[in-house]
């Protein structure tokens, strides 16, 4: 199995403050990687650095993919009142790099865009303005847009934040399906869902605190969140935390 992304000694600074320090991470092709961590821990920064949206201060990021990177941002950052229809949002992904003079969208573009919308289950909303979409529908629309690029690597930034529970399950099932065809890197706060679907887990708190199987020990969680954290360990359908002895610790 080949590599998809290789990150060596990556540091990203915002001014003088390090957002990410000395991160070394390798993502295999076809892997499903979940990235978790506290707010401000550098998860989104890592994603944006991979996408080339923020420059790296030190270190290198190498992408081993012959296709484009599919990016799915949080829907909350978008302007929902912008006058654009759902289909048009997906179509924007079909634009070529550079400046396209007098270029419209071809029939092929439209068929392809509708296909992606069908994949995420929103083909009926094609003509609707985005202001009329719910959070879950809008988030799925952004996934469809990324899929229209036919990417080999899909990067998602908290795709289930502020999304209803039904859409959340739908999105995670969809990602599991898509993982058969592409590498997926998912940043999420949703610890439980992340651990149930992903193959590998990375924990970011300024540095890469942990990278391995999605099974967290108390020590890792402590290092991740900075102080002992009380976690609810679900036994069904699987455990997130290793079995451990002893009681709760207080900060």
């Amino acid at each position: 199995m080949g590599k998809a992304v290789q990150i060596d000694h990556l540091s990203v600074y915002y001014g003088d403050t390090p957002a990410i320090k000395d991160v070394c991470l390798e993502v295999a092709q076809g892997e499903f990687l979940g990235i978790i961590g506290p707010n401000g821990g550098g998860k989104s920064t890592l994603l944006k650095a991979i996408l080339g949206l923020i420059p790296a201060n030190t270190g290198t990021i190498r992408i081993f993919s012959d296709g484009p990177l599919g990016y799915v941002p949080q829907f909350a950052t978008m302007d929902k009142r912008f006058p654009i229809s759902a289909l048009e949002v997906v179509l924007t992904a079909r634009q070529k790099p550079g400046l396209s003079l007098f270029k419209g969208y071809s029939k092929e573009d439209r068929t392809m865009a509708l296909m992606q919308m069908e994949k995420v289950g929103i083909q009926n909303l094609a003509k609707r303005q985005i202001a009329g979409l719910s959070g879950g529908e809008f988030q799925r629309l952004l996934i469809a847009r990324a899929l229209a690029l036919e990417p080999k690597i899909l990067l998602l930034d908290e795709p289930t934040a502020s999304v209803d529970a039904g859409s959340r399950t739908q999105i995670y099932n969809l990602l599991e399906e898509l993982n058969k065809d592409m590498t997926i890197i998912l940043v999420s706060h949703d610890l439980l869902a992340v651990s149930s679907k992903v193959q590998k887990l990375a924990c970011m708190n300024g540095e890469l605190v942990y990278h391995g199987e999605p099974e967290l020990s108390e020590g890792v969680v402590n290092k991740l969140y900075g102080c002992p954290v009380e976690l609810i360990a679900h036994g069904v359908p699987h455990r997130v935390l290793k079995d451990h002895e002893g009681g709760m610790h207080k900060c």
């Binding site: 996408l51 080339g52 941002p73 978008m78 924007t92 007098f102 419209g104 690029l149």
Partner: protein
């Protein structure tokens, strides 16, 4: 007024100016409102006054000076925002005042009594010259061509410039070019409503169109139509009532806008009442 229209060249020029202004303020106004560039446009417009003063001082057409300073302000604000990391409202405030101050100084440096340069501040559509019209025609033409030619690129950039830059669309170029188009639009609008009231024609038609239509293209078309209605009706009112033309246009545009907002909120309240009474 119709008979006077056919008789007097200055009224015909004024009407042409109205139509050209409506086209640019409709198209660019929608983009300014969507990209939240209203304050930046105000900053660019007021910086133009420095160019007006410089043109007067050095003996070239003030409107050309206005154009140079507008484009300079547009690129300057854009660059500083991008590289310098200074907050945009601070930069805008600085350029805004500096332009006005420079204009005042340049004008005062010229010996003798200055001619009526107030027409640049408050507009005087009835004194639009052949040169002004030619400049307006060129700017309107460039604006329309650039928007239509790259329409899909513009749409992608306006909606989500981050995603657009990831897929390789030249967003930095589009950002600077949009600011230049705003500068050109302001130069066209200076003649109609003046530097001080330019914001009204950039925002009111676009806001009205936003209430009645959705979809970027239809909003632009709607804004052009509303702009034309405001300008022509304002021109008529100022001719009939012998009042300042720029101010008439602005008062009409803004009152219609307020009325439309009020009507919409009343309708929304009614809808909510009906919906809640149904649920009881």
């Amino acid at each position: 007024m119709l008979s006077a229209l056919f008789e007097y060249q200055f009224l015909q020029n004024a009407l042409w100016a109205c139509l050209l202004a409506s086209i640019v303020c409709g198209i660019i106004g929608v983009m300014v409102v969507e990209k939240k560039l209203v304050m930046m446009s105000g900053g660019i417009a007021h910086t133009a006054y420095g160019g007006v003063g410089l043109g007067y001082l050095l003996g070239f057409e003030p409107i050309i000076g206005a154009f140079i300073f507008s484009v300079g302000a547009a690129l300057g604000i854009g660059y500083i925002k991008r590289k310098g990391g200074v907050r945009s409202d601070i930069i805008i405030g600085l350029f805004w005042s500096l332009g006005m101050a420079l204009g005042i100084i340049f004008i005062s440096l010229m010996p003798g009594y200055p001619p009526d340069l107030n027409s640049y501040l408050f507009g005087n559509i009835l004194s639009v010259t052949r040169l002004d019209l030619n400049m307006m025609i060129i700017m309107t033409f460039i604006t329309v061509v650039v928007i239509i030619a790259l329409f899909n690129n513009w749409k992608a950039y306006l909606f989500d410039d981050e995603f657009a830059s990831i897929i390789g669309i030249k967003t930095v170029f589009l950002e600077y070019f949009l600011l230049i188009l705003v500068a050109m639009t302001i130069v066209v609008l200076i003649r109609v409503v003046g530097i001080i009231m330019v914001l009204a024609l950039l925002t009111a038609p676009a806001a009205m169109a936003g209430i009645f239509t959705s979809g970027l293209k239809s909003r632009m078309i709607g804004a052009v139509i509303f702009g034309a209605v405001f300008c022509i009706a304002g021109l008529w009112a100022s001719y009939a009532l012998n009042l300042a033309s720029g101010a008439c246009i602005v008062i009409l545009a803004v009152s219609f806008c307020f009325f439309a907002f009020a009507a919409r909120s009343v309708r929304m309240k009614q809808k909510r009442k009906i919906a809640s009474s149904r649920n009881e």
